[in-house]
Symmetry: C2
Subunit: 555 residues, 2 copies
Amino acid sequence: MNATPKVWNTLQQNRSARLARAGQALGNDLNGKALPAARIKDLLHSVLECGDRVCLEGNNQKQADFLAQALAGLDPVRISALHMLQSVLALPEHLDVFERGVASKLDFSFSGPQAARVAKLAAAGKLNIGAIHTYLELFSRYFVDLPPRVSLVAAEAADRNGNLYTGANTEDTPAIVEATTFKNGIVIVQVNRVVDTLPRVDIPGDWVDFVVQSPRPYYIEPLFTRDPAQISEIQVLMAMMAIKGIYAEYQIERLNHGIGFDTAAIELLLPTYATSLGLKGKIARNWALNPHPALIPAIESGFVESVYSFGSELGMEEYIRARPDVFAVGPDGSMRSNRALCQAAGHYACDMFIGSTLQIDLQGNSSTATLGRIAGFGGAPNMGADARGRRHASPGWLKAGREARGRSNAIPRGQKLVVQMVETFREHMQPAFVEKLDAWELAEQAGFAIPPVMIYGDDVTHILTEEGIANLLLCRSEEEREQAIRGVAGYTPVGIGRDKRMVENLRDRGVIRRAEDLGIDKRLATRDLLAARSMKDLVRASHGLYDPPRRFRNW
Amino acid sequence: MNATPKVWNTLQQNRSARLARAGQALGNDLNGKALPAARIKDLLHSVLECGDRVCLEGNNQKQADFLAQALAGLDPVRISALHMLQSVLALPEHLDVFERGVASKLDFSFSGPQAARVAKLAAAGKLNIGAIHTYLELFSRYFVDLPPRVSLVAAEAADRNGNLYTGANTEDTPAIVEATTFKNGIVIVQVNRVVDTLPRVDIPGDWVDFVVQSPRPYYIEPLFTRDPAQISEIQVLMAMMAIKGIYAEYQIERLNHGIGFDTAAIELLLPTYATSLGLKGKIARNWALNPHPALIPAIESGFVESVYSFGSELGMEEYIRARPDVFAVGPDGSMRSNRALCQAAGHYACDMFIGSTLQIDLQGNSSTATLGRIAGFGGAPNMGADARGRRHASPGWLKAGREARGRSNAIPRGQKLVVQMVETFREHMQPAFVEKLDAWELAEQAGFAIPPVMIYGDDVTHILTEEGIANLLLCRSEEEREQAIRGVAGYTPVGIGRDKRMVENLRDRGVIRRAEDLGIDKRLATRDLLAARSMKDLVRASHGLYDPPRRFRNW
């Protein structure tokens, strides 16, 4: 028999103790849930405990930067060995916590701008990587085996009761706060302003413990803005092939685009080229996508019917507010995004994902991981994977499934289109096609169990380059697959190494299709086909509603 | 040039018109957002429009039954052709709306108790099925191409401002309300009581348009309760094989169980058999699962560390409240569930799904669809599918991936364990193994594009029967796979049709393992091994905190 009965509310007790310490540390400076910005380190020193799992809201876009800075400035003698949970590492402070010994472990999704420093700190033993995740996977673990003990998030505004208004950049906040609150953790939020009445409540006040008004508005990155002036004619040609050879053929109505000039070119060709093909109302109607400015002409022309978003995009606020039929806008008139739900939508409610990558190997595996950079993949693994739990049919999904099955006896099922769109050579004449991904060597360097692949070859259905489209669904062997890939790899060593006869055979069978096979006149592939050729054109198309960030204004 | 500029806020205008009509119809009976129950039909007649997409909260458990009844009683001359969106069709009223011509189209996930009537109404042309979905897929479409125009949901309580408290059965409500509110739809909620102060806010009041206090508390089904008295010794044996041959071998720490006596037996063997094997703290620690009463002994013994839930379970309220370290409990002390987030967790944060089915074919495809019943599959397709977007590693996931890859050159990747656990013969001596699924004929009858399969064979990793475990990961050809399945199919026609030599070879290679191959002494497979053998035992194990529904009390 046990003499002492098991205690079942250690989390509640621990939460109370933390709140009591905070009350003591802040004294009269704590006004309800609100504290002055100057006392933030005292709050963190009092509520944090060594070894805590701490979720710091680093999103794709908005950043809890004031809290990140405070955390990085803590005394490592008092607070150390934190286990950071973070979708995105974007700011120097996100790594400073490791450099300074405040934190030691990291589970994350994306570290684009900080990837080299992540690799360096990991090599130096200052940062122990738990794992790299796709966003929805990381959020999922917050609810199962990685509940945050303390979360540091960002919102637009709070009222006196701690109710939060996130505005259009809701992003990760609801998932983080829900996981923390309902495991008796502590939620601390930085807000741009404290007000009497919020436009609407995005997060209920009783899910929030502390509110601090940041000395400056949170930092936000216009990550999805692409200046049409930088779109090349090669990209126009590739966009034409995508529209005619894939969107039209599979009747893709619901979709997601990756970031980049390749897909921006497609967005800008919808009102022109796609409309000339009679595709309006037939393709690209419902989107799971951030409010890309390049989408404005397609929205204005009535091509795009709805857009549901992971986050928002700087400068698009007034445009969104004026187009409530298109975006997910609340009764207050402003948008709400939700990265968790939009990733679910990208996975389960879209027929196609199309995006770019840095390297593709002979099996079609692709990765943006390169040596000395531990970058992660954000949402791509989730969207660029066949949703095998999907059960509703659509014409494109059924057609892809039929093509994949061929004459085999396997039971019929559909398949998601996953398109990788790359020029054969990327910047600095680096070939996009390689015999072996850098991911292998990176895995060895960093001690990963397996190489960090962004999209696995068996999930990729099409590879599109300026040389044509390789339809991997129609390949019937590993060898055919390899030659189909070589066949669109142009003058890269991989392309030059093709078996010419086999590639011609694949072309005869329609596995490889060149622009001319698709009936595309390459002479039309000029920038004139773009519905907007500059940022100014986008502003004009928006009737002056789009307000691009300063760095994109060159007029 | 267009003479009339495009209107971009038709949804907002339409919402205002609906609210104005409701105000007019209800007059002084509308007190803020609250209306008397007697006026519910007037509200629905005024806010609904013919052809509306209407989301009616029919969950696995709680039901917006008062609103369902009101909807079914509307005048089909005034309101018709509604397009119903519903996770679960559980109540007669859910079909009455079609029978009476109020609704005509349906997108759904599960219709277990009403499956025969769904088939009948579909055949009669009164119900046009859009598609069958897995839950998370259906929610995803609410945000992309099927936003509800009007949603009818259920909550425990509301305050005067329309803030909602859902209590432990949060379930689908947040996803439905978010999709509706942020597309300028109308949200109507039935509550058990209107109070001054809520224990906590689960849904902000400004996401809610109308509140009606139902004349009786919402109906709720204790769907996940299994009386241990009904567990057979065969099920005990199968549970032993599962624990020793799968959970232990793959070190499964994070998992989801299907509903049924098979998995309840496993839950009840954790504190006894699994503990005797030294597995405590090594397997089955973190769960994505409803609060199954059969889990109580494993929780009490410290075997189970955390449970995150889709919904709650009747009678478990006080037990959950007293075990806040284990469940997702808020600062107010009661649980919050969330079906959307828990399905994401089941997909991305679990190493294993184990569940049962009605039929398995020779390729390992399984289905619960039978002739004359259009039942859907709920969450199983989502949980019983490899999460191909997953990127974090665990020992079991890596091992499954290695086994699947064998000596092939494919790039390393892990794989989720998906286990189908069935006795070779189910009720009425129907064989669980068949040459061809009934789903084929059902698809033809109902005009589906493809047969409704619950879990596809290429996602299934293990099939477990009283005859042993077939490890499909180790099969290297379609033929081996077929023989591995036949090899555990016992005396069913499929089992009798095995190639004896090939099956013995598969056993030698460890592809098939019998109880004796696993070192399991069948004589120990008695009900004595169950940690609880009756409902009374479960109550006792819970220290009187579990309060089973009346129908489960036989003392």
